[in-house]
Amino acid sequence: MNLHRKIEALGGAFIGALKSVRELARLWRGSLAGLVERDYPKGEIARQMYVVGNKSVLFISVTMGFLGMVMVMQSGQQLNRITGDLSQLGPEFLRLFIQEFAPTITALMLATRVGAGIAAEIGTMKVTEQIDALRLSGITPTSYLIAPRFFACVVMSLVLTIFAVVFSFSAGGLTAWSVFGLNPTLFFDASRVQVYDLTLGGCKALTYGMAIPVISGYCGLEARGGSEGVGTATTSAVIGSSFAVLLIDFLLSGIGFAFFGGGAR
């Protein structure tokens, strides 16, 4: 009987997960449709872009600057031990940050800050029945609430990723120059960057930008009860979006490697 219970619980969890995935897909489609219908408050997209971008730009720039410094210190030391040739450090650093670190770390930070914000805002509206009141006025919550956040997150994920590349690369170059005495013209060399790197990084940033508002919005809309429910929704939004970012990272990197050989040259 105990085993029976466990199997039942497992099955229930599995069905729940499938339902959530279906619901997420529905929200994603609904957001796209909402952007076409433009049934959100006037100026809402600009406001959301400001909220997403402004909240995160300093945070992301500083974090990425530090990450750039640390990465250069670490890999510079390793290279010195192995080959002593640091000439490839800058170009390879840039490729790695464009395809991987800049979009992914940016997205992880967006998942915590912006994801939590979206879930708390929408969750509060849910538990105070504002969502019901909207629906009563003929509004689809997805079009009205999620679509503008969706658009803002997609655009800002790309913009902030570019910021992240710029800041990490600059900080990395300065570190290489001051710690290893590497000539900045050798480090700041973008000629090795391929279309593949830009495409992969861009695709990641775009996909993360879609996943975060959809997952966080879903958590908000599913909030139950009172402020406790909002708290739970916020936590699940952060965990869910962060996990989604890592999963997407893995999948897209895998696809890039399997079908395009990782852009190797």
Partner: protein, 252 residues
């Protein structure tokens, strides 16, 4: 807008389970167009749930809900939207949009219609706020208001578009007796003017009896009493009598 004699609300044998609780079990309710029905019942008896069923925010597990001849049980969003266009609702906890001013809240149902000029909307919002005793509060945010004020903003929002069916969930909870009477006078005046169908849930039995011509008492997911409000006090059902008189001895 309304045609007296037609059925505005027809709830047939509705069953609804929420969580582990069978909230409604075989509830029947009919309200004629232009009627004023008061709904009474003990706390957690399913009154608010019933109102949500009537606007399709909840779907019954079994049974049928028809609003002005349209069956809501398909759950089709298009059908629901069409039906909801003619419904105004005051939520028990107001559900004011906290990102809008009071004026924008009240204007919202009207602005959503898209066929009313901005000037007219402004005038009507002002008039509505004045009639609920909140003249000059249009620019305030809901968070700056007291509970009773929020309630009145909710009433203004529910009625501004002159819907054919208005549902009030506790329209006077948290209001003092004088304001309560004023609110019911306003609801009556509105109803006489537009001829709409009104459903009001309230635990203030006395005030509700003065307002509604018909009363229904929900108990354990069923209608325990349905009839004229003048006769409810003489009901043969001891539970109903006890609820109305508010005495402590009895089956409740």
């Amino acid at each position: 807008m309304s045609e007296p004699g037609r059925t505005a609300i027809d709830v047939h044998d509705v069953q609804l389970r929420l969580g582990h609780r069978q909230v409604l079990q075989g509830l029947h309710l009919k309200v004629a167009e232009g009627g004023r029905l008061g709904i009474l019942g003990p706390a957690a008896g399913g009154k608010s749930v019933l109102l949500k069923l009537l606007v399709g925010l909840l779907q019954p597990d079994a049974g049928r809900v028809e609003i002005r001849g349209t069956d809501l049980s398909s759950g089709d969003e298009k059908v629901l939207m069409r039906v909801r266009r003619d419904i105004g609702m005051l939520f028990q906890n107001y559900a004011l949009f906290d990102f809008m001013t009071v004026g924008e809240n009240v204007a919202f149902p009207l602005a959503r219609r898209g066929d009313v000029e901005a000037d007219e909307i402004r005038d009507r919002v002002e008039a509505r706020l004045r009639s609920v005793g909140l003249a000059g509060s249009a620019h305030k945010m809901p968070s700056e208001l007291s509970g009773g004020m929020k309630k009145r903003v909710g009433i203004a929002r529910a009625t501004i578009a002159r819907p054919a069916l208005v549902l009030y969930d506790e329209p006077t909870a948290g209001l003092d007796p004088v304001t309560t009477q004023k609110m019911y006078d306003l609801l009556s005046a509105d109803q006489e003017e537009t001829g709409c169908t009104v459903l009001a849930v309230s635990s203030d039995v006395k005030a509700l009896m003065g307002f509604a011509s018909e009363l229904a008492l929900i108990h354990e997911g069923r209608i325990r009493y349905a009839g004229s409000s003048s006769e409810i006090a003489d009901s043969s059902d001891a539970l109903v009598r006890q609820f109305v008189s508010g005495s402590e001895d009895g089956p409740l």
